[in-house]
Amino acid sequence: MEGRPTVGARVKQNETSTPAVCRLSGISKAFGATQALQDVSFEVRKGEFLALIGENGAGKSTTMGILFGLLDPDAGTVEIAGRPQAMRSARDAIAAGLGMVHQHFMLYPDLTVLENIIVGQEDTGRGGRIPLATHRARATEILRDFDFALDLDRKVADLPVDARQQVEIVKLLYRGASVVILDEPTAVLTPQESIALYRMLARLQAQGTSIVLITHKLDEVMDNADRILVMRRGKLVAERATAETNTAELAELMVGDRIEVVEKHSAAGADVVLSVANLTVQRQQGKPALRDVNFEVHAGEVFGIAGVSGNGQKELVNALVGLEGAQGAVRFAGRDILPLDVAARRALGLGYMAEDRMAMGLAQAGSVAENLIAGREGKSAFSTRGFLTKSRIRKFSRDLIDRFDIRTPSDRQTVAKLSGGNQQKIVVARELSARPQLLVVENPCWGVDVGAITFIHKQILELAATGCAVVLVSSDLEELFALSDRVGVLCDGALNAIFPRDGLDAIAVGAAMTGGREGVPA
């Protein structure tokens, strides 16, 4: 880190005479025990192209949510055009000249382009009629000024994705937005469409509109942004002028100073426990969510899966666990398990720690004991002839509460009342106590306090040491690097690269995550 100017120094250096259209000062926001944002301050200048980059959970969306009036900050102020603004809703934000293109389009598919553009702005004339002719004239003007080729009378449902995105942007311009915020706009576009999008954004910029881009894609940032803000763990950690930085530096800033590898003794053996061949998951429309994925996991090995979220991780996990159909083959315990349901796979020795504790991993309204036996309630250990044996369940639960240090007043406590870390310990205890041969783990430390993270990591490594094969899907590179023997990178549904433990490098993995192929080809 030496020799690199500090953030403060940068800010000073970059201060120009261009007026700020909006400014965030000292914004902090916590969700429960998690500090999502801490003292975030920055400004958006008139006519600039600002990029906000960071990993999942870095706080980008929370920042934009606050700027856009969807969330209330715990501390700090939002100023628009020099005036402090209390954003109570998206309506206030729109009135203040902010516009946002969400990752998931907010359009009415059954309405025409024009109707979608004027939604919310349809001042009614006499008798409650919408003066469509006036609206059409205004919309046509905007299309001409910014050089859009959109047919105002087509139904949005009939438009391709890139055209829908244009409708979103025109909608914002129609409302007089002077700041256009785009959340991962190219996630849904082909490379050619992405180029066209950025050309169009450049035109907007030339006419004085400020652009704020939220993304992971460093190449796009380097090609288009004027200024780049990097977020990490709820803090703004760096600000760079695009001309003075490069993707390597940005990648490093995003993932942290240096990834420290905690103590791990590889337990990987020679026996193949899990073998995934040509695994493909189709979507209802569009390209497949998972394409021809091949990998093997050995006994005692932790196989990490990295990737920007939404690149096929969910589908891979669901296909392995049995929650979703897939094509190809998944061999485990001597057979192809794809035709089997969850219960049959669990009976063969599969364990699964879902990332979504609220809906999948735990029954929040159930008791600790009820959650600890799930999946094994029909086994003779916990029931006889269809009836639960309470005494054994109680003994088992108390035993696990001790062994896994679950902090709960009793085994009858409702799970929802426990902290995130203790909830996750219940999941860990349940899955590990079943002595799986294969464990699929998804972001085991989301929303978990630091103390519990180490504990959970240790438990996973100890399990691997007993010969269990582990598939670890995580959006936290530090976690992946600390635990994995190998890391495969999913990008766009394909396993882009597999890195051995000694070849793990944040920049190379980061590049593979965003589409580059600098790693070892899979």
Binding site: V342, R345, A354, M360, G361, G375, L388, T414
Partner: protein
């Protein structure tokens, strides 16, 4: 137990407020006495037995609703299932040429099977066409109710009577009454059923799975529960209990199917209210069902003695239901509705 108390404390508060309101219409000692007498008194405790008769039907419906709701299935088709059960029982009771005991047992089983299939139909519709169970089960009430109306007003009407009703069932096949009372043994049948539901929900593996699935479908799937089988089984059990209740109403109280006998007293909807007021906790449900039964008969008594319209009781019930819809809303939210 404190958790349970906390859950039901607020509804009970609302109910108490309702009673205060009720008394505000006639804040006199007579009104209270009239209410209590209407619900629990009468010559030879006649009113108490009529409360208990109503309670039997309400409890049956409430238990049917409870089974579905506990599994997170918003089956509000108890009315249709109840009516079809009652109609089936009446048809068998009138037309099956068999010894009394055979008629009784066949009517009971027939009512349960038909109602169970009707409940399952709502599930099939949800699975096949994505019409939410809430809507499908509600809409299935109408054909059931009108079909029953048609049956007893035209092809199977008791032509000797002025009312739209079926013929009387085989006299010896009817449920016996407790000596000297108007109360029949149906309450025992339903009471045992309720007890079985309450006990199994807590002690059986099936009950455990149903409860967990009701808490979270995603959790049930990830844990490897047979979610689809649980879904259909729960619906069918729910329907069967409603059908049994229909049988009790026909073979007990009335000895025939009278048009509107199961719909006019709003049994099905009151049963849903009882379950929501009990916060879907099985053992609390009989208490709330009894409360609603007493509220209805008590209000009738007040009307008779002190002239407070019985509608006041219904208004209070409606307010409670409105309040409880918030509970139902909470139940609905946080559920993904998929993968059932």
């Amino acid at each position: 137990m404190t958790r349970t108390l906390r859950k039901v404390a607020l509804p009970i508060g609302v109910v108490a407020l309702g009673l205060v309101l009720l008394l505000a219409f006639a804040p006199t000692r007579e009104a209270v006495l009239a209410f209590l007498n209407g619900a629990f008194g009468g010559r030879n405790n006649f009113n108490l037995y009529s409360t208990l008769s109503r309670f039997a039907i309400l409890l049956g419906v409430a238990m049917s609703v409870l089974v579905s709701f506990r599994a997170g299935l918003l089956n509000i088709g108890a009315e249709g299932q109840l009516v079809l059960g009652g109609l089936t029982a009446a048809m068998i009771g009138v037309y099956l040429p068999a010894p009394p005991l055979v008629v009784t047992v066949s009517a009971l089983l027939g009512a349960m099977v038909v109602a169970a299939l009707w409940a399952m139909l709502a599930g099939l519709i949800e699975r096949a066409t994505n019409v939410p169970l809430l809507i499908g089960s509600l809409l299935l009430n109408y054909p059931a109710v009108y079909l029953a109306s048609y049956f007893v007003s035209h092809p199977f009407r008791d032509v000797n009577s002025g009312a739209t009703q079926s013929f009387r069932i085989l006299r010896e096949a009817g449920l016996p009454r407790f000596t000297g009372t108007i109360l029949d043994y149906g309450i025992v049948l339903i009471g045992i059923t309720a007890l079985v539901v309450i006990v199994l929900e807590r002690t059986s593996v099936f009950g455990y799975r149903v409860r967990m699935q009701g808490y979270s479908v995603g959790f049930a799937r990830a844990s490897g529960f047979p979610t689809r089988r649980l879904y259909y089984r729960t619906l069918m059990i729910s329907g069967a209990i409603a059908g049994m209740t229909g049988f009790v109403a026909v073979f007990g109280m009335n000895q025939r199917f009278i048009d509107g006998m199961l719909t006019a007293p709003l049994y099905a909807w009151t049963g849903i209210a009882a379950v929501l007021m009990a916060a879907i906790i099985p053992w609390v449900t009989p208490i709330t069902a009894f409360f609603f039964a007493a509220l209805a008969t008590g209000a009738i008594g007040m009307e008779r003695s002190v002239g407070i319209p019985r509608e006041v009781g219904q208004i209070i019930q409606a307010i409670i239901v409105l309040y409880l819809s918030g509970v139902a809303g909470k139940m609905l939210s946080g559920r993904d509705g998929k993968g059932r």
